[in-house]
Protein backbone atom coordinates (compact mmCIF):
# COMPACT_ATOMS: atom_id res chain seq x y z
CA UNK A 1 0.00 0.00 0.00
CA UNK A 2 2.71 2.39 1.09
CA UNK A 3 4.83 1.39 -1.88
CA UNK A 4 2.03 1.85 -4.32
CA UNK A 5 1.51 5.34 -3.01
CA UNK A 6 5.23 6.15 -3.25
CA UNK A 7 5.27 4.87 -6.80
CA UNK A 8 2.31 6.99 -7.72
CA UNK A 9 4.00 10.06 -6.27
CA UNK A 10 7.22 9.26 -8.11
CA UNK A 11 5.34 8.88 -11.35
CA UNK A 12 3.65 12.23 -10.80
CA UNK A 13 7.01 13.86 -10.07
CA UNK A 14 8.50 12.40 -13.23
CA UNK A 15 5.59 13.77 -15.25
CA UNK A 16 5.99 17.23 -13.73
CA UNK A 17 9.72 17.23 -14.43
CA UNK A 18 9.14 16.13 -18.00
CA UNK A 19 6.57 18.92 -18.40
CA UNK A 20 9.08 21.48 -17.15
CA UNK A 21 11.76 20.28 -19.52
CA UNK A 22 9.35 20.49 -22.44
CA UNK A 23 8.30 23.99 -21.38
CA UNK A 24 11.92 25.20 -21.26
CA UNK A 25 12.72 23.54 -24.59
CA UNK A 26 9.75 25.24 -26.21
CA UNK A 27 10.82 28.60 -24.79
CA UNK A 28 14.33 28.12 -26.15
CA UNK A 29 13.00 27.11 -29.56
CA UNK A 30 10.66 30.10 -29.77
CA UNK A 31 13.43 32.44 -28.66
CA UNK A 32 15.61 31.06 -31.41
CA UNK A 33 12.93 31.27 -34.05
CA UNK A 34 12.01 34.86 -33.17
CA UNK A 35 15.72 35.72 -33.00
CA UNK A 36 15.77 36.66 -29.36
CA UNK A 37 19.48 36.48 -28.61
CA UNK A 38 20.12 35.88 -24.93
CA UNK A 39 23.78 36.88 -25.31
CA UNK A 40 22.77 40.17 -26.86
CA UNK A 41 20.30 40.77 -24.05
CA UNK A 42 23.02 40.23 -21.43
CA UNK A 43 25.48 42.45 -23.30
CA UNK A 44 23.10 45.34 -23.63
CA UNK A 45 21.13 45.20 -20.38
CA UNK A 46 23.69 47.62 -18.99
CA UNK A 47 22.86 50.00 -21.84
CA UNK A 48 19.26 50.31 -20.65
CA UNK A 49 20.41 51.28 -17.19
CA UNK A 50 22.85 53.68 -18.75
CA UNK A 51 20.09 55.26 -20.79
CA UNK A 52 17.89 55.85 -17.79
CA UNK A 53 20.88 57.17 -15.89
CA UNK A 54 21.53 59.56 -18.76
CA UNK A 55 17.89 60.81 -18.72
CA UNK A 56 18.36 61.83 -15.11
CA UNK A 57 21.11 64.33 -15.99
CA UNK A 58 20.66 67.82 -17.37
CA UNK A 59 22.64 69.17 -20.34
CA UNK A 60 25.13 70.54 -17.86
CA UNK A 61 25.69 67.05 -16.47
CA UNK A 62 24.13 67.86 -13.09
CA UNK A 63 21.46 65.56 -11.65
CA UNK A 64 17.96 66.63 -12.70
CA UNK A 65 16.66 67.11 -9.17
CA UNK A 66 19.32 69.67 -8.38
CA UNK A 67 17.58 72.10 -10.71
CA UNK A 68 13.86 71.26 -11.03
CA UNK A 69 13.15 74.51 -12.87
CA UNK A 70 15.52 73.53 -15.67
CA UNK A 71 14.37 69.91 -15.64
CA UNK A 72 10.68 70.69 -15.88
CA UNK A 73 11.19 73.76 -18.07
CA UNK A 74 8.42 72.70 -20.47
CA UNK A 75 5.75 72.03 -17.83
CA UNK A 76 3.28 74.50 -19.32
CA UNK A 77 3.33 72.88 -22.71
CA UNK A 78 3.46 69.39 -21.24
CA UNK A 79 0.60 70.20 -18.92
CA UNK A 80 -1.51 71.29 -21.85
CA UNK A 81 -0.64 68.16 -23.80
CA UNK A 82 -1.42 66.08 -20.73
CA UNK A 83 -4.88 67.63 -20.52
CA UNK A 84 -5.30 66.79 -24.21
CA UNK A 85 -4.28 63.23 -23.44
CA UNK A 86 -6.79 62.95 -20.61
CA UNK A 87 -9.54 64.39 -22.78
CA UNK A 88 -8.74 61.92 -25.56
CA UNK A 89 -8.90 59.07 -23.04
CA UNK A 90 -12.09 60.40 -21.46
CA UNK A 91 -13.96 61.00 -24.70
CA UNK A 92 -12.82 57.69 -26.16
CA UNK A 93 -13.88 55.86 -23.01
CA UNK A 94 -17.29 57.51 -22.72
CA UNK A 95 -18.19 57.02 -26.38
CA UNK A 96 -16.75 53.50 -26.46
CA UNK A 97 -18.62 52.50 -23.31
CA UNK A 98 -21.88 53.85 -24.73
CA UNK A 99 -21.37 51.92 -27.97
CA UNK A 100 -20.38 48.78 -26.05
CA UNK A 101 -23.45 49.19 -23.83
CA UNK A 102 -25.82 49.15 -26.79
CA UNK A 103 -24.12 46.20 -28.44
CA UNK A 104 -23.63 43.96 -25.41
CA UNK A 105 -27.30 42.97 -25.14
CA UNK A 106 -27.24 41.77 -28.73
CA UNK A 107 -24.17 39.66 -27.96
CA UNK A 108 -25.69 38.04 -24.86
CA UNK A 109 -27.02 34.54 -25.31
CA UNK A 110 -29.77 34.89 -22.73
CA UNK A 111 -31.30 37.96 -24.39
CA UNK A 112 -30.70 37.56 -28.11
CA UNK A 113 -32.28 34.44 -29.54
CA UNK A 114 -31.10 34.97 -33.10
CA UNK A 115 -27.85 33.06 -33.51
CA UNK A 116 -26.72 34.88 -36.70
CA UNK A 117 -27.23 38.30 -35.09
CA UNK A 118 -25.38 37.27 -31.94
CA UNK A 119 -22.58 35.76 -34.02
CA UNK A 120 -22.23 38.91 -36.15
CA UNK A 121 -22.13 41.24 -33.13
CA UNK A 122 -19.63 39.03 -31.32
CA UNK A 123 -17.25 38.81 -34.27
CA UNK A 124 -17.51 42.55 -34.80
CA UNK A 125 -16.63 43.26 -31.17
CA UNK A 126 -13.80 40.77 -31.40
CA UNK A 127 -12.31 42.50 -34.44
CA UNK A 128 -12.57 45.87 -32.67
CA UNK A 129 -10.60 44.72 -29.65
CA UNK A 130 -8.11 42.43 -31.38
CA UNK A 131 -6.52 45.15 -33.52
CA UNK A 132 -4.28 47.24 -31.21
CA UNK A 133 -5.38 50.81 -30.66
CA UNK A 134 -2.18 52.21 -32.07
CA UNK A 135 -2.87 50.49 -35.39
CA UNK A 136 -6.34 52.04 -35.56
CA UNK A 137 -4.76 55.39 -34.67
CA UNK A 138 -2.24 55.06 -37.49
CA UNK A 139 -5.00 54.30 -39.99
CA UNK A 140 -7.16 57.18 -38.79
CA UNK A 141 -4.24 59.62 -38.91
CA UNK A 142 -3.91 58.77 -42.58
CA UNK A 143 -7.65 59.23 -43.07
CA UNK A 144 -8.35 62.28 -40.88
CA UNK A 145 -4.93 63.90 -40.55
CA UNK A 146 -2.87 64.63 -37.45
CA UNK A 147 -4.55 65.67 -34.19
CA UNK A 148 -6.62 64.24 -31.35
CA UNK A 149 -9.57 63.03 -33.47
CA UNK A 150 -7.83 59.85 -34.69
CA UNK A 151 -6.76 59.15 -31.10
CA UNK A 152 -10.30 59.44 -29.80
CA UNK A 153 -11.64 57.23 -32.56
CA UNK A 154 -8.97 54.59 -32.00
CA UNK A 155 -9.69 54.43 -28.28
CA UNK A 156 -13.44 54.47 -28.88
CA UNK A 157 -13.30 51.44 -31.17
CA UNK A 158 -11.01 49.43 -28.95
CA UNK A 159 -13.05 50.30 -25.85
CA UNK A 160 -16.29 49.36 -27.60
CA UNK A 161 -14.85 45.97 -28.50
CA UNK A 162 -13.47 45.26 -25.06
CA UNK A 163 -16.43 46.60 -23.09
CA UNK A 164 -19.02 45.03 -25.39
CA UNK A 165 -17.63 41.59 -24.62
CA UNK A 166 -17.17 42.22 -20.92
CA UNK A 167 -20.64 43.71 -20.57
CA UNK A 168 -22.16 40.79 -22.49
CA UNK A 169 -20.60 38.42 -19.99
CA UNK A 170 -22.08 40.39 -17.10
CA UNK A 171 -25.47 40.27 -18.83
CA UNK A 172 -25.21 36.51 -19.28
CA UNK A 173 -24.83 36.09 -15.54
CA UNK A 174 -27.89 38.02 -14.41
CA UNK A 175 -30.85 36.58 -12.54
CA UNK A 176 -33.37 35.72 -15.27
CA UNK A 177 -36.42 35.75 -13.00
CA UNK A 178 -37.09 39.48 -13.46
CA UNK A 179 -36.68 39.05 -17.22
CA UNK A 180 -39.29 36.32 -17.14
CA UNK A 181 -41.57 38.47 -15.01
CA UNK A 182 -41.37 41.43 -17.38
CA UNK A 183 -41.77 39.26 -20.48
CA UNK A 184 -44.81 37.53 -19.00
CA UNK A 185 -46.50 40.87 -18.41
CA UNK A 186 -46.25 41.81 -22.09
CA UNK A 187 -43.18 44.04 -22.13
CA UNK A 188 -41.23 44.33 -25.39
CA UNK A 189 -37.55 43.42 -25.76
CA UNK A 190 -36.25 46.94 -25.25
CA UNK A 191 -38.48 47.40 -22.22
CA UNK A 192 -37.34 44.10 -20.75
CA UNK A 193 -33.72 45.15 -21.16
CA UNK A 194 -34.41 48.60 -19.70
CA UNK A 195 -36.30 47.42 -16.64
CA UNK A 196 -35.24 43.87 -15.87
CA UNK A 197 -31.63 43.80 -17.09
CA UNK A 198 -30.08 47.28 -16.82
CA UNK A 199 -30.79 47.75 -13.10
CA UNK A 200 -29.01 44.47 -12.41
CA UNK A 201 -25.88 45.21 -14.43
CA UNK A 202 -25.36 48.96 -14.04
CA UNK A 203 -23.02 48.90 -10.99
CA UNK A 204 -20.78 46.36 -12.71
CA UNK A 205 -20.79 48.28 -15.96
CA UNK A 206 -19.78 51.47 -14.17
CA UNK A 207 -16.98 49.70 -12.36
CA UNK A 208 -15.57 48.15 -15.53
CA UNK A 209 -15.80 51.51 -17.31
CA UNK A 210 -13.73 53.23 -14.63
CA UNK A 211 -11.13 50.50 -14.90
CA UNK A 212 -11.12 50.99 -18.64
CA UNK A 213 -10.61 54.75 -18.29
CA UNK A 214 -7.45 54.06 -16.35
CA UNK A 215 -6.19 51.77 -19.12
CA UNK A 216 -7.18 54.28 -21.78
CA UNK A 217 -5.14 57.07 -20.17
CA UNK A 218 -2.08 54.90 -20.68
CA UNK A 219 -3.24 54.15 -24.22
CA UNK A 220 -3.82 57.82 -24.99
CA UNK A 221 -0.33 58.68 -23.75
CA UNK A 222 1.23 56.84 -26.68
CA UNK A 223 -1.29 58.01 -29.30
CA UNK A 224 1.07 60.92 -30.01
CA UNK A 225 3.71 58.44 -31.21
CA UNK A 226 1.81 58.18 -34.46
CA UNK A 227 0.57 61.77 -34.51
CA UNK A 228 -2.82 61.05 -32.95
CA UNK A 229 -2.64 63.81 -30.34
CA UNK A 230 -1.62 64.19 -26.72
CA UNK A 231 1.63 64.11 -24.87
CA UNK A 232 3.05 61.10 -26.73
CA UNK A 233 4.08 63.46 -29.53
CA UNK A 234 6.55 65.29 -27.28
CA UNK A 235 7.72 62.11 -25.64
CA UNK A 236 8.63 60.38 -28.86
CA UNK A 237 10.33 63.57 -30.09
CA UNK A 238 12.39 63.83 -26.92
CA UNK A 239 13.46 60.19 -27.30
CA UNK A 240 14.37 60.56 -30.97
CA UNK A 241 16.25 63.83 -30.54
CA UNK A 242 18.11 62.62 -27.45
CA UNK A 243 16.69 65.34 -25.17
CA UNK A 244 17.46 63.06 -22.26
CA UNK A 245 16.17 65.08 -19.34
CA UNK A 246 12.92 65.85 -21.21
CA UNK A 247 12.22 62.11 -21.47
CA UNK A 248 12.42 61.66 -17.73
CA UNK A 249 10.43 64.85 -17.08
CA UNK A 250 7.55 63.77 -19.32
CA UNK A 251 7.59 60.24 -17.90
CA UNK A 252 7.51 61.67 -14.40
CA UNK A 253 4.47 63.81 -15.17
CA UNK A 254 2.77 60.88 -16.88
CA UNK A 255 3.42 58.42 -14.08
CA UNK A 256 2.23 60.90 -11.47
CA UNK A 257 -0.99 61.51 -13.39
CA UNK A 258 -1.71 57.83 -13.92
CA UNK A 259 -1.12 57.19 -10.23
CA UNK A 260 -3.57 59.89 -9.22
CA UNK A 261 -6.17 58.52 -11.61
CA UNK A 262 -5.58 54.99 -10.36
CA UNK A 263 -6.21 56.11 -6.83
CA UNK A 264 -9.33 58.10 -7.67
CA UNK A 265 -10.96 55.46 -9.85
CA UNK A 266 -10.14 52.72 -7.39
CA UNK A 267 -11.87 54.61 -4.64
CA UNK A 268 -14.89 55.21 -6.85
CA UNK A 269 -14.98 51.58 -7.88
CA UNK A 270 -14.92 50.36 -4.34
CA UNK A 271 -17.81 52.62 -3.55
CA UNK A 272 -19.75 51.28 -6.49
CA UNK A 273 -19.02 47.68 -5.63
CA UNK A 274 -19.93 48.31 -2.01
CA UNK A 275 -23.29 49.56 -3.09
CA UNK A 276 -23.62 46.68 -5.57
CA UNK A 277 -23.25 44.13 -2.80
CA UNK A 278 -25.87 45.78 -0.59
Amino acid sequence: MMRAYAEAVAARRARTALGLVILLLLAAVSAHVSEVDIGKFVDHIGGVGGYFDRTLRLESGARVWTDPADWLWGWKRWGRLLVDTLLIAYLGTVLGVIAGFFLCFLAAENLTRSRPLRFAVRRFLEACRTVPEIVFALVFVVAFGLGPLPGVLAILIHTMGAMGKLFAEVVENIDMNPVEGATASGAGWVQVVRFAVVPQVLPNFASYSLLRFEINVRGAAVMGFVGAGGIGQDLVEAIRKFHYSDVSAILLILIATVMVIDLLTERLRHRLMGRGAA
Binding site: N177, P178, G181, A182, A184, F195, Q200
Partner: protein, 265 residues
Protein backbone atom coordinates in the same frame (compact mmCIF):
# COMPACT_ATOMS: atom_id res chain seq x y z
CA UNK B 1 -63.88 31.54 -21.65
CA UNK B 2 -60.48 29.87 -21.87
CA UNK B 3 -60.35 26.69 -23.92
CA UNK B 4 -57.46 24.27 -24.11
CA UNK B 5 -57.72 21.59 -26.77
CA UNK B 6 -55.39 18.61 -26.92
CA UNK B 7 -52.49 20.60 -25.51
CA UNK B 8 -49.14 18.79 -25.64
CA UNK B 9 -45.66 19.88 -24.65
CA UNK B 10 -42.55 17.78 -25.15
CA UNK B 11 -39.12 18.62 -23.79
CA UNK B 12 -36.88 16.46 -25.92
CA UNK B 13 -38.50 13.04 -25.65
CA UNK B 14 -39.99 13.85 -22.26
CA UNK B 15 -43.69 14.62 -22.44
CA UNK B 16 -44.42 17.30 -19.80
CA UNK B 17 -48.04 18.02 -20.75
CA UNK B 18 -50.02 15.29 -22.44
CA UNK B 19 -53.17 16.01 -24.38
CA UNK B 20 -54.82 18.42 -21.95
CA UNK B 21 -58.29 19.71 -22.81
CA UNK B 22 -60.02 22.11 -20.45
CA UNK B 23 -62.66 24.82 -20.56
CA UNK B 24 -62.50 27.54 -17.94
CA UNK B 25 -65.40 30.01 -17.82
CA UNK B 26 -64.62 33.60 -16.93
CA UNK B 27 -64.52 34.36 -13.20
CA UNK B 28 -63.60 30.93 -11.90
CA UNK B 29 -60.89 30.32 -9.33
CA UNK B 30 -59.32 27.07 -10.46
CA UNK B 31 -56.72 25.19 -8.51
CA UNK B 32 -54.28 23.03 -10.46
CA UNK B 33 -52.90 20.27 -8.29
CA UNK B 34 -50.56 17.37 -8.73
CA UNK B 35 -47.25 16.07 -7.57
CA UNK B 36 -43.88 17.59 -8.37
CA UNK B 37 -43.03 17.26 -12.04
CA UNK B 38 -46.63 16.57 -13.07
CA UNK B 39 -46.56 19.42 -15.59
CA UNK B 40 -48.48 22.15 -13.72
CA UNK B 41 -45.96 24.93 -14.35
CA UNK B 42 -45.57 24.00 -17.99
CA UNK B 43 -49.33 24.13 -18.44
CA UNK B 44 -49.65 27.63 -16.99
CA UNK B 45 -46.62 28.92 -18.84
CA UNK B 46 -48.04 27.69 -22.10
CA UNK B 47 -51.21 29.68 -21.55
CA UNK B 48 -49.12 32.85 -21.15
CA UNK B 49 -46.99 31.63 -24.08
CA UNK B 50 -43.76 31.76 -22.08
CA UNK B 51 -43.53 28.21 -23.39
CA UNK B 52 -44.77 27.30 -26.85
CA UNK B 53 -46.91 24.18 -27.06
CA UNK B 54 -45.70 21.27 -29.18
CA UNK B 55 -49.24 20.75 -30.44
CA UNK B 56 -52.81 21.54 -29.53
CA UNK B 57 -54.70 24.77 -29.28
CA UNK B 58 -55.31 27.53 -26.75
CA UNK B 59 -58.32 29.70 -27.37
CA UNK B 60 -59.62 32.67 -25.45
CA UNK B 61 -62.98 34.27 -26.30
CA UNK B 62 -62.56 33.16 -29.90
CA UNK B 63 -58.93 34.31 -30.21
CA UNK B 64 -56.46 31.61 -31.26
CA UNK B 65 -53.81 32.30 -28.63
CA UNK B 66 -51.41 29.72 -30.08
CA UNK B 67 -51.15 31.70 -33.34
CA UNK B 68 -50.42 35.10 -31.80
CA UNK B 69 -47.18 36.87 -32.64
CA UNK B 70 -45.24 39.98 -31.77
CA UNK B 71 -47.45 42.88 -30.60
CA UNK B 72 -50.55 40.66 -30.43
CA UNK B 73 -48.65 38.11 -28.38
CA UNK B 74 -47.44 40.79 -25.96
CA UNK B 75 -50.96 42.15 -25.63
CA UNK B 76 -52.14 38.62 -24.77
CA UNK B 77 -49.44 38.25 -22.17
CA UNK B 78 -50.64 41.46 -20.55
CA UNK B 79 -54.17 40.00 -20.48
CA UNK B 80 -53.01 36.73 -18.90
CA UNK B 81 -50.90 37.99 -16.01
CA UNK B 82 -48.49 35.62 -14.30
CA UNK B 83 -47.50 35.29 -10.65
CA UNK B 84 -44.39 33.26 -9.83
CA UNK B 85 -43.16 31.29 -6.87
CA UNK B 86 -40.02 33.47 -6.74
CA UNK B 87 -42.05 36.68 -7.29
CA UNK B 88 -39.82 37.71 -10.23
CA UNK B 89 -39.64 41.36 -9.24
CA UNK B 90 -36.66 43.56 -10.09
CA UNK B 91 -34.90 43.77 -6.74
CA UNK B 92 -33.02 46.97 -7.42
CA UNK B 93 -36.07 48.93 -8.53
CA UNK B 94 -38.49 50.46 -6.08
CA UNK B 95 -41.87 48.91 -5.42
CA UNK B 96 -43.88 51.47 -7.39
CA UNK B 97 -41.70 51.03 -10.49
CA UNK B 98 -42.11 47.27 -10.19
CA UNK B 99 -45.88 47.69 -10.17
CA UNK B 100 -45.71 50.19 -13.04
CA UNK B 101 -43.92 47.51 -15.08
CA UNK B 102 -47.36 45.95 -15.38
CA UNK B 103 -48.25 48.94 -17.60
CA UNK B 104 -45.34 48.45 -20.01
CA UNK B 105 -47.49 46.82 -22.63
CA UNK B 106 -49.74 49.88 -22.78
CA UNK B 107 -47.00 52.54 -22.82
CA UNK B 108 -44.87 53.44 -25.83
CA UNK B 109 -41.31 52.11 -25.72
CA UNK B 110 -39.81 55.61 -25.81
CA UNK B 111 -41.89 56.93 -22.94
CA UNK B 112 -41.35 53.85 -20.81
CA UNK B 113 -37.61 53.70 -21.38
CA UNK B 114 -37.40 57.28 -20.09
CA UNK B 115 -39.72 56.32 -17.22
CA UNK B 116 -42.22 58.99 -18.25
CA UNK B 117 -45.16 57.39 -16.51
CA UNK B 118 -48.49 59.18 -16.81
CA UNK B 119 -50.20 60.42 -13.66
CA UNK B 120 -53.05 57.98 -14.32
CA UNK B 121 -50.64 55.05 -14.40
CA UNK B 122 -48.99 56.15 -11.19
CA UNK B 123 -52.36 56.57 -9.49
CA UNK B 124 -53.41 53.14 -10.75
CA UNK B 125 -50.24 51.54 -9.39
CA UNK B 126 -50.61 53.21 -6.02
CA UNK B 127 -54.26 52.18 -5.82
CA UNK B 128 -53.26 48.59 -6.54
CA UNK B 129 -50.73 48.66 -3.72
CA UNK B 130 -53.39 50.23 -1.50
CA UNK B 131 -55.66 47.25 -2.25
CA UNK B 132 -53.21 44.99 -0.47
CA UNK B 133 -52.29 47.41 2.30
CA UNK B 134 -48.75 48.07 1.14
CA UNK B 135 -48.92 51.58 -0.39
CA UNK B 136 -46.63 52.72 2.41
CA UNK B 137 -43.64 50.84 0.98
CA UNK B 138 -43.98 52.22 -2.56
CA UNK B 139 -40.57 53.91 -2.43
CA UNK B 140 -38.65 50.95 -1.00
CA UNK B 141 -36.44 48.72 -3.07
CA UNK B 142 -38.21 45.46 -3.87
CA UNK B 143 -35.26 43.39 -2.63
CA UNK B 144 -35.65 44.83 0.86
CA UNK B 145 -39.15 43.36 1.31
CA UNK B 146 -40.28 40.14 2.93
CA UNK B 147 -41.51 37.32 0.71
CA UNK B 148 -45.13 38.03 1.54
CA UNK B 149 -44.75 41.69 0.68
CA UNK B 150 -42.97 40.86 -2.57
CA UNK B 151 -45.73 38.52 -3.63
CA UNK B 152 -48.34 41.18 -2.91
CA UNK B 153 -46.33 43.63 -5.05
CA UNK B 154 -46.34 40.99 -7.79
CA UNK B 155 -50.11 40.68 -7.52
CA UNK B 156 -50.43 44.47 -7.68
CA UNK B 157 -48.28 44.40 -10.82
CA UNK B 158 -50.56 41.76 -12.30
CA UNK B 159 -53.61 43.84 -11.39
CA UNK B 160 -52.42 47.00 -13.20
CA UNK B 161 -52.10 44.91 -16.35
CA UNK B 162 -55.92 44.94 -16.22
CA UNK B 163 -55.85 41.24 -17.05
CA UNK B 164 -58.70 38.90 -17.91
CA UNK B 165 -56.88 36.13 -16.14
CA UNK B 166 -54.21 35.58 -13.53
CA UNK B 167 -51.98 32.53 -13.79
CA UNK B 168 -50.35 31.90 -10.44
CA UNK B 169 -47.57 29.28 -10.41
CA UNK B 170 -47.18 28.09 -6.82
CA UNK B 171 -47.59 31.64 -5.45
CA UNK B 172 -47.23 30.60 -1.81
CA UNK B 173 -44.63 27.86 -2.00
CA UNK B 174 -41.89 30.19 -0.69
CA UNK B 175 -43.97 31.75 2.06
CA UNK B 176 -44.60 31.08 5.74
CA UNK B 177 -48.14 30.12 6.85
CA UNK B 178 -49.17 33.67 7.80
CA UNK B 179 -48.05 35.15 4.47
CA UNK B 180 -49.58 32.18 2.67
CA UNK B 181 -52.97 33.27 4.03
CA UNK B 182 -52.41 36.91 3.11
CA UNK B 183 -51.44 36.09 -0.45
CA UNK B 184 -54.20 33.52 -0.99
CA UNK B 185 -56.73 36.00 0.40
CA UNK B 186 -55.39 38.61 -2.02
CA UNK B 187 -55.84 36.24 -4.96
CA UNK B 188 -59.36 35.39 -3.84
CA UNK B 189 -60.18 39.08 -3.55
CA UNK B 190 -58.87 39.78 -7.04
CA UNK B 191 -61.09 36.97 -8.25
CA UNK B 192 -64.25 37.93 -6.38
CA UNK B 193 -63.89 41.69 -6.52
CA UNK B 194 -62.76 42.19 -10.12
CA UNK B 195 -64.13 38.99 -11.61
CA UNK B 196 -60.69 38.02 -12.91
CA UNK B 197 -60.29 34.33 -13.69
CA UNK B 198 -57.56 32.79 -11.57
CA UNK B 199 -55.66 29.62 -12.37
CA UNK B 200 -53.49 28.70 -9.44
CA UNK B 201 -50.93 25.90 -9.14
CA UNK B 202 -50.91 24.69 -5.57
CA UNK B 203 -48.90 22.07 -3.84
CA UNK B 204 -51.01 22.00 -0.68
CA UNK B 205 -54.30 20.18 -1.00
CA UNK B 206 -55.82 21.86 2.05
CA UNK B 207 -55.28 25.29 0.53
CA UNK B 208 -56.65 24.12 -2.79
CA UNK B 209 -59.79 22.79 -1.10
CA UNK B 210 -60.28 25.93 0.90
CA UNK B 211 -59.83 28.60 -1.77
CA UNK B 212 -60.79 27.10 -5.12
CA UNK B 213 -64.14 26.73 -6.94
CA UNK B 214 -62.77 23.89 -8.95
CA UNK B 215 -59.78 21.59 -8.87
CA UNK B 216 -57.91 20.15 -11.82
CA UNK B 217 -55.66 17.26 -10.91
CA UNK B 218 -52.70 16.55 -13.18
CA UNK B 219 -50.63 13.41 -13.18
CA UNK B 220 -47.80 12.76 -15.62
CA UNK B 221 -49.05 15.60 -17.82
CA UNK B 222 -52.63 14.33 -18.04
CA UNK B 223 -55.82 15.64 -16.45
CA UNK B 224 -56.95 12.90 -14.07
CA UNK B 225 -59.41 14.87 -11.97
CA UNK B 226 -61.64 17.83 -12.77
CA UNK B 227 -64.42 18.67 -10.36
CA UNK B 228 -65.47 20.72 -7.33
CA UNK B 229 -63.17 20.36 -4.32
CA UNK B 230 -65.76 18.39 -2.38
CA UNK B 231 -65.53 15.60 -4.93
CA UNK B 232 -61.86 15.07 -4.25
CA UNK B 233 -61.89 12.03 -2.03
CA UNK B 234 -58.91 10.88 -0.08
CA UNK B 235 -58.69 7.92 -2.42
CA UNK B 236 -58.35 10.19 -5.48
CA UNK B 237 -55.86 12.39 -3.66
CA UNK B 238 -53.69 9.39 -2.82
CA UNK B 239 -53.72 8.35 -6.44
CA UNK B 240 -52.82 11.87 -7.52
CA UNK B 241 -49.96 12.37 -5.14
CA UNK B 242 -48.75 8.83 -4.54
CA UNK B 243 -46.07 8.82 -1.86
CA UNK B 244 -46.31 12.60 -1.39
CA UNK B 245 -49.94 12.33 -0.28
CA UNK B 246 -49.33 12.54 3.47
CA UNK B 247 -47.17 15.63 3.20
CA UNK B 248 -49.55 17.67 1.10
CA UNK B 249 -52.60 16.85 3.20
CA UNK B 250 -51.18 17.38 6.64
CA UNK B 251 -49.04 20.45 6.76
CA UNK B 252 -49.87 22.96 4.06
CA UNK B 253 -47.21 25.47 2.99
CA UNK B 254 -45.02 25.03 6.02
CA UNK B 255 -42.81 22.65 4.11
CA UNK B 256 -41.14 25.29 1.95
CA UNK B 257 -37.44 24.63 2.37
CA UNK B 258 -35.59 27.32 4.27
CA UNK B 259 -33.19 27.79 1.35
CA UNK B 260 -35.94 28.95 -0.96
CA UNK B 261 -37.10 31.59 1.47
CA UNK B 262 -33.58 32.84 1.97
CA UNK B 263 -32.98 33.20 -1.76
CA UNK B 264 -36.22 35.09 -2.17
CA UNK B 265 -35.61 37.49 0.68
Amino acid sequence: MLRLEGLVKNFGDKRAVDNVSLAVPAGQLVGVIGRSGAGKSTLLRMINRLVDPTSGRIEYDGIDVTALQRADLRAWRARSAMIFQQFNLVGRLDVLTNVLMGRLNKVSTTRSVLKLWSDEDKALALAALEQFGIAGIAAQRAESLSGGQQQRVAIARALVQEPDMILADEPVASLDPRNTRIVMDALRRVNRHFGITVLCNLHSLDLAREYCDRLVGISAGRVVFDDVPAALTEHVARELYGLEADEVMDMPASRAPAGVVAVAA
